[in-house]
């Protein structure tokens, strides 16, 4: 089975070589004479208003966490769909229950307004 993945290994090797080569060649051959003005943060011509590190709305995390949960749910679907012929009605109903549980979570999200951006 591992032999089937040999092209992936070759691909990994070649892409690593290309990536490293591009960065090193660019660093070696490109002109580089920085000064403090060139390295300073640039914000459309005027002085920067604030620091790069700033607090963001917690809503971004909420959306990301909810995405990960449903991402995991999709991951459970793949072996189920592949093995659907063998697992029969028991496996089919197991997935129905699983989805029903997550629909409860989805309703909780929706009704609480977690999907709204305001």
């Amino acid at each position: 089975m591992l032999a089937e993945y040999f092209p992936v290994l070759v691909f990994l090797g070649i892409s690593t070589v290309i990536g490293v080569a591009l960065v090193t060649l660019g660093g070696l051959l490109g002109p580089s004479n920085p000064d403090s003005e060139k390295l300073s943060p640039y914000e459309c011509g005027f002085e920067a208003f604030e620091d790069t590190r700033m607090k963001f709305d917690v809503r971004y995390y909420l959306v990301a966490i909810l995405f990960i949960i449903f991402d995991l749910e999709i991951a459970f679907f793949i072996p189920w769909a592949v093995a659907l012929d063998e697992i029969g009605w028991l496996g089919f109903n197991a997935m129905l229950l699983f989805v029903a549980l997550l629909i409860v979570g989805f309703v909780v999200e929706w009704k609480n307004g977690a999907l709204e951006w305001e």
Binding site: M1, M54, R59, L62, I65, A83, A94, L101
Partner: protein, 208 residues
């Protein structure tokens, strides 16, 4: 003499994994630490692939590298991190940290050290799967029949995660002007327009 490719690949990726894991805890910049953690996960996925757990390897890349680490980077980049306050109190936290580390190491040793429960004699290397076997199908056949209860428990845990994430992070903001499409659609003509009878006027100002 020919070099055994799987062993070479294993040592290559495990070296990268251990090196990246050390970098995660030693590098100063939290963003770099998160990126090294991505590299660690990726090398672990490659090792799982060598163990012929192809589906789990791909899921590790998709879920951890693709989603969880992006969330980590979100958190790391969006919190306003000043490195100086992070370093203060290092010495005062040190005893607790060492105690926790020793406890974890002891727990791992309890599992791994005893020869009669763990080792190549107890778990011999299984025969390599022949070409064309679907690891995903084998996993599906077991997961949705023999391991049905753990699977449903996983669903309940995901539900708990949804509810707790919503409860912990959802804040209602007051004074937000937002559209309500359902309300807009259901609006009646009488709520928006008022017809008023006004007597018409002639050009010279006299009302008829």
């Amino acid at each position: 003499m020919d070099i055994p490719i799987p062993q070479t690949v294993f040592y290559l990726f495990s070296f990268i994994m251990v090196a990246a894991a050390i970098m995660v805890i030693t590098v100063r910049n939290p963003v770099y630490a998160a990126l090294f953690l991505v590299l660690t996960f990726f090398s672990a996925a490659a090792i799982w692939l060598l163990l012929e757990a192809e589906f789990l390897a791909i899921v590790l890349v998709v879920v951890y590298v693709g989603a969880v680490m992006v969330l980590f980077l979100f958190v790391v980049m969006m919190l306003d991190i000043n490195l100086a306050p992070l370093k203060e109190g290092f010495v005062s936290y040190l005893p607790v940290g060492i105690a926790v580390a020793l406890l974890m190491a002891a727990e791992m040793l309890v599992v791994v050290w005893t020869r009669d429960r763990f080792g190549p004699e107890i778990y011999p290397v299984p025969a390599a799967a022949e070409a064309g076997t679907s690891n995903t199908a084998a996993l599906g056949e077991l997961l949705y029949t023999n391991f049905l209860l753990p699977f449903e428990i996983a669903g309940v845990i995901l539900l708990v995660a949804i509810v707790s994430a919503v409860t912990l992070t959802l804040r209602k903001r007051s004074g937000v002007r937002s559209q309500s499409p359902s309300h807009q659609v259901r609006v009646k003509r009488d709520e928006r327009v008022r017809l008023v009878d006004i007597a018409s006027e002639s050009p010279d100002g006299r009302s008829d």
